[in-house]
């Protein structure tokens, strides 16, 4: 799209777009292209020798048990994180939307975890869930009777990284949910109340369906967040351990590429990640704006 009324200048528009094109070319297109080429090469760790092998790296990747396990872990981790933080965000937003007084203060008190770095959220929760010093760990041990030890048990470690990642995202979800709720016409709610619908029924039959675009958008954003931005949480809390039980895809790229120096495999993994995010982006643009709407 372009404006009807425009300026004309033979060189200025090029000059204006140049910085953007330059950074995108050097730090996006060239690396992406380079990654694509590298994903089809086998080379030794010192970079002295490389050979073109077509899709062998990808075949090796998808027949590697560890990689398939990492995919499973990532899916579980991101779904659990998204569902936890979205449902808490929705719950708190519903309550805050009912509150008559103090909306501004409530928002202020709920919004700031957005600004906490995932890595710092990891450190805070590492302390809270520490097997010998953590207070939340103590509560889990006492009230649930679980032998809580995220340093040794993979399942506990998974719960730990999910809690740290979900906590930080609650405020993001809250902001969107409350904005979505405030956009719902009051008259609809009032009409339903006149017809005798209880507050709970109004929530299920009016608020939630009308929030479906927000729900879908947040689902996409939360999954992207837990796929990529949780690197800091994993790095500070578990380093992918114990025994690879929290080794999500992004962390595995880093481990294989920078610690294991397996360039071919790491590049192939990057390409897989890029394809995933491209699909998600296309999905989002296709459906978020148009399809998910309340009809009928």
């Amino acid at each position: 799209m372009i404006k009807r009324s425009i300026f004309s200048n033979p060189y200025l528009p090029y000059l204006l777009i140049l910085p953007q094109i330059l950074v995108t070319l050097t730090f996006f297109y060239w690396p992406a292209f380079d990654g694509l080429i590298n994903s089809m090469l086998v080379s030794d760790p010192f970079g002295n020798y490389s050979r073109f092998v077509w899709f062998k790296n990808f075949i090796a990747l998808f027949t590697d048990f560890l990689y398939l396990k990492s995919i499973g872990i990532t899916l579980m981790f991101s779904l659990a994180t998204a569902i936890t933080s979205m449902s808490l965000g929705l719950l708190i937003a519903t309550l805050a939307n009912r509150a008559l007084k103090g909306k501004a203060i409530i928002r202020t008190m709920l919004i700031w975890p957005y600004a906490v770095a995932p890595a710092i959220s990891g450190i805070l929760w590492l302390f809270l869930l520490h097997p010998s010093y953590g207070v939340v760990a103590l509560a889990i041990k006492k009230f649930l009777g679980v032998d809580w030890n995220p340093v040794l048990h993979g399942g506990d470690a998974m719960v730990m990284v999910i809690m740290a990642s979900a906590w930080k995202e609650i405020s993001y979800n809250f902001v969107f949910f409350i904005a979505g709720m405030q956009a719902i016409p009051k008259s609809l709610i009032e009409a339903a109340a006149m017809d005798g619908a209880s507050p709970f029924r109004r929530f299920w039959n009016i608020t939630l369906p009308l929030l479906s675009p927000t729900l879908f958008f947040l689902m996409v954003m939360n999954i992207i967040y837990s796929f990529f931005e949780t690197f800091g949480v994993i790095h500070t809390m578990t380093q992918g351990g114990p025994g690879g039980s929290t080794n999500i895809l992004v962390y595995k790229v880093y481990q294989d590429g920078f610690i294991g120096l397996n360039l071919g495999s790491s590049s192939a993994q990057s390409v897989v990640l890029m394809s995933i995010i491209i699909v998600v982006t296309i999905l989002q643009f296709k459906y978020v704006e148009k399809k998910v709407q309340y009809t009928g």
Binding site: F7, I106, I111, Y114
Partner: protein, 306 residues
């Protein structure tokens, strides 16, 4: 509310306060831990009455984690990314919306394609690129056997090796993260909603493109810029993977990365009070930015998607 539901209203407030406490709990707890001496913080459960070691723990965290240098690095990185992204995007969006030229569509599509690709998915090649900015030219030289050509031409044995490294530099920390299309896209969306008449009137009054940009477009974009400043500052400050890769020199490390050094490991004394104090210091700047600019931030976060 629509009808009177006193019980439900009371419950709403009770649960709301509970929710706020749960969300705030990690920070409140960290604050208490940061005010206790080591003997208290390693008790299970830790006493919930704040001690008076807050300042002492802050000082220890500051010196032990070398936070002074690192906070400055974080600040330079976050503001560099913020300013870089916003200025590059502003003029880029202006070019795409207000001019018609042959490569306009291609420019827009090529920028748009990078919209959601975070640096995390292309770490290795981007790292290689930053390690040697002239890498592409070097590989061109290699592919075209220019070395050989020059050997033959000059009858002289030269090995062309081009090297310009961004590792352990501020541009290295900043530039790769400036390459994102989100801001450009948002400014484009916003410019498209600006009435045509403004531009027509400006042109009629004889304003040049840059005058229109400076005198009309920039003031109109103020709120959007303010919102993006918050979002991008928080984004830049909280970066983890990229600074972790690109900095090896402790003097160039950012604060969020540096915190790793003050987390007690398995065989250390459990200095969690110091770790919590350090975490609180490092999270303070972005939290302050969000709280102080809350109004613009919420608007900027929510509105563009609508």
């Amino acid at each position: 509310m629509v009808e009177k539901t006193p019980i439900l209203d009371t419950l709403t407030y009770v649960f709301l306060v509970l929710g706020i406490l749960i969300v705030g709990f990690p920070i409140i707890y960290a604050l208490i831990a940061a005010s206790l001496p080591i003997e208290d913080v390693s008790k299970v459960p830790m006493p919930l009455i704040p001690g008076d070691y807050l300042l002492a723990n802050f000082t220890t965290a500051w010196t032990k984690g070398n936070l002074g240098t690192q906070l400055i690095n974080s600040f330079i990185m976050a503001s560099g990314i913020t300013i870089g992204k916003i200025s590059v995007s502003l003029i880029g969006a202006f070019s795409i919306v207000y001019f018609d030229y042959r490569l306009r569509k291609i420019a827009f599509i090529s920028v748009f394609c990078t919209l959601m690709l975070p640096v995390e998915v292309r770490i290795l090649p981007t790292y290689e690129m930053a390690a040697n900015l002239l890498g592409p030219i070097q590989s061109l030289v290699n592919v075209m056997h220019l070395n050989w050509l020059i050997d033959w031409f000059a009858n002289y044995d030269i090995d062309i090796s081009l090297n310009l490294s961004l590792l352990d530099t501020y541009p290295g920390l900043i530039l790769p993260l400036v390459a994102s299309a989100t801001c450009t896209f948002l400014f484009r969306q916003f410019f498209l909603t600006i009435p045509e008449e403004l531009c027509e009137a400006a042109k009629m009054d004889g304003a040049s493109a840059m005058t229109f940009f400076r005198k009309i477009l920039l003031p109109l974009s103020k709120t959007n810029i303010a919102a993006l400043v918050v979002i991008e500052f928080v984004y830049g400050w909280n970066q983890y993977l990229w600074p972790l890769l690109i900095t090896t020199n402790p003097k160039m490390m950012t604060a969020v990365i540096g915190l790793q050094n003050i987390i007690p490991q398995a065989d250390d004394l459990p200095f969690w009070n110091v770790a919590m104090a350090g975490s609180l210091i490092v999270m303070l700047p972005p939290v302050l930015v969000v709280l102080l600019m809350q109004r613009w931030f919420v608007k900027g976060l929510v509105d563009p998607e609508k």
